[in-house]
Assembly symmetry: C4
């Protein structure tokens, strides 16, 4: 967002620096104020869902919610105002969240029957990601994401195989278990299959027949041990990423290639001496 600089200097610029950046104490205070409002807003949605509190404090919640919605609307209007290309922002991830945080709430407040839009008020919580962005070191997020990306093929292969095993085993249980066990259809049996394989084990549906219990034991042992796969693959990638610090960013003066290890003295591609501050010992002879 700091790259979307407003064309004119002046009030708009100062507003931009206040809202979109976090350099000055005023900008930081703005951010903190925003986070507090988000937490209050989310907290109210949660408390309002508890029948007891809704009865006692429902009207206060409603008033505070109006107040917060107005503040967020003003804030969104200011954001649009101080940017040169507001449409570009509104189409970005954070822009969409900002709009989703405000627009539906107006609809909910104007048509109180729209109960289901309660959830969108919670989408305000997604704005906290922006705060998180500022909090974490860029490198750490990148490390996790890189490791996740590199492991993705194995993890997809793993998930697919697992899903197919669950489908087949669950269907067998659907066939052999009597009605009172709860396996009322194949999708329901698959729900039970995943509840069992992820070791959640609600107990709302449990096998009654000995054969069913035997097959479920197979699913349990599989789910219990197969967690080693994604964990092992992901750990190895994280370790590899940490080790990537082993590679320097510099290019070889001889062939220009990159990706040399930090402890390398000669370019592994063309044999040229790499350290620019000293001379090649072989050349001295």
């Amino acid at each position: 967002m700091p790259s979307m600089k407003p064309a004119k200097v002046g009030f708009r610029t100062r507003l931009f620096q206040l809202i979109f950046e976090s350099d000055t104490p005023a900008a930081k205070a703005f951010d903190i104020g925003l986070v507090i409002l988000i937490f209050v807003s989310v907290g109210i949605v949660m408390l309002n869902s508890i029948a007891e509190y809704h009865q006692k404090y429902g009207t206060y919640f409603f008033d505070i919610e109006w107040f917060i919605t107005v503040i967020f609307t003003i804030e969104l209007a200011l954001r649009i105002y101080c940017l040169d290309k507001p449409l570009l922002y509104l189409r970005s991830f954070y822009g969409v969240i900002d709009v989703l945080s405000v627009l539906p709430t107006w609809l909910v407040l104007l048509f109180p029957g729209a109960h289901t839009l309660i959830v969108v008020r919670l989408l305000r919580a997604l704005r906290l990601f922006r705060v998180l962005d500022m909090m974490t070191i860029e490198g750490e997020k990148r490390l996790l994401l890189d490791a996740l990306l590199r492991s993705r093929h194995q993890i997809m292969l793993f998930l697919f195989t697992v899903l197919m095993l669950v489908t087949i085993f669950s269907s067998i249980l659907y066939l052999i278990e009597p009605a009172e066990a709860g396996f009322s259809s194949i999708p329901t049996a698959m729900y039970w299959g995943i509840v069992t394989m992820t070791t959640v084990g609600y107990g709302d549906i449990t096998p009654i027949t000995p054969l069913g219990q035997f097959i479920s034991v197979a699913i349990m042992l599989t789910g219990y041990s197969i967690i080693a796969l994604p964990v092992g693959v992901f750990s190895a990638e994280v370790i590899r990423a940490l080790r990537a610090e082993r590679y320097s960013d510099e290019a070889c003066p001889g062939c220009g290639r990159h990706h040399h290890e930090r402890d390398a003295r000669y370019c592994k591609f063309c044999g040229t001496w790499l350290d620019e501050e000293t001379t090649d010992p072989r050349a001295r002879e």
Copy 2:
């Protein structure tokens, strides 16, 4: 499968390239069409198991299932036709799946009472593995499988020890718990033992006596922490496999150092040319 080339060139060859290979756009479209049909077929089996949908749409499902079965039968016939040694293919893993996907369905559709063969319709899902084969890089599957294979002794030792501990503890609970707790026989107690040790914990059977609860706590703590064994062993093997990928075992003929990357042509420690079968390009100058 590309190794089973048909002897004659012509229509059969073009058919072979369409069905068994994925190079041309037509072949890719064929594969995608097949995957879609498989998903539809599996989806219908699942929806048909839900009483509500079976009543409303049962006849449509039946018709679509006939249609798909006919298409798969034609496809299997074409596969047999365009190969020179079809029996060899029918005995391979994918060949057996193809036959199992079609033959039982004919039996089910002709004798609708064969309810239990519903599951074999789901075996069509196994055909998706072929698609997966094409999607993943050979190396990644191999890496996972190799790591799994190398860890197999420790994992078997681990599973056996764990199974014996569960047997003994479950039997003790079978002896000390009263009838209403649900430990009706030793196999049932072992079912509870595995439900507990894998941390699934349905709750359909739970210990009532304090001693029983104490022993179950021992099983829980064991199951909870012992997962470190296969995870640790498997992770270590994956890491080893990843490292072996990058680093070769050979020594530099110049300085004797190890730990060179596979793509290195010159020793990073002393600059000597590493490939013993060719001569250093610089020396030729």
Copy 3:
């Protein structure tokens, strides 16, 4: 604590060595005696909570509890007596625990209605940490703590993202599930969300609608696989800590190579003396 030496020598010093240190057999016996008393005290609190035992042995428990409290009070008085700056100690972690172990018990015993202070008797168990301190090698605790500290950013990022996903999904279930399913408010739904995501799965609240079951499957699969993140990151940090223990960061003044073990005196690559602050013993000959 050994650093808080008393100013005067004599009885107070001998008392100090007995209570705060563990060198002499008497001091060790003192420590063991203390641990035994703590275990007895905690055990009595537990047994006393069982209605059956409370009725049979309640009076004995009460008497033993008085006796132990008196002993701990005398011990605390002695600690204060033999130190020069007792207030400094009373403000330290172990000092606060010592006071909390004794003072509330007097209140409980004098005003037996203060049932809730039972828990503070259990705080005596925290005194066992001091024993643990003496048992473990300093390095091992440090290794674990360091690895934990270095992984903290990723783990916080992970926990925050996970918490937000749980909030949004749980709220959706709160909206779509009927009253009898148990999702009575958003906080209750979030309680269910965490029970599900951590794979605990009590089963006191379970989704009834197919859509609810589908969303819960998403939460289960997420919780089941996402454990790989903190485990992978933490494992990598432990491995890094173990390696940093063994290998130093310095380069050899002779050949410039890195990756020497900390206990190495000569470079394993070129034989040069590594310690820059002293001279090579061989050179002196």
Copy 4:
């Protein structure tokens, strides 16, 4: 056991080779026969516990059990006969198991009311460990055990800390939850605490009050993430054990010290050239 060689050669020796060793086909057949008998014996104990089968086949089970017990008794007698120091064997781990497999069964069969000794019949399963001993490569068991041993301090520290947290939190729930929730005493609350923390989650006891649910969420999240500790530590130790192959067994010809890395050319302790097959390049100058 091969180290306990009988003093006289002849029938006893041949018996010894048959029973205690596995070199000849006869000895292997003996072992396999033994394993089959153990499985049959254990299987009968399990089937006999199922009321249905006990009624139908109880007498057959009884006869087969007599038969097997007689065979095991003869086998034990033979073992004692062909050894020179049988008492030494009877005191070893496997010797005790052999006696426990046979003696109690005689008591059970003579006094059928001794129902509780059923479990000791299952102890025969422990004899399978001897088979396992022969199946696994010595190095693999050693690797796992070594890694386990080296991690034991951290794992004990971890278990102790976790147990204390569970005790304190469970006690709080014991105090705040009403009677119908099931937290009837502190030990029962601790049982629930471990059921929750290990993510087993039976659901036989669940918190009803909001505060109780909040505290239980803390326990769940702790148990869910804290598994990273023992897994991470154990994985690191396994990796370290695998890397120990990095160290050679040879001693330095100069100072006699061991523990040099395989890729070391100069002794890190005294700087002497390590490779005995070549001469020190520095000496050539």
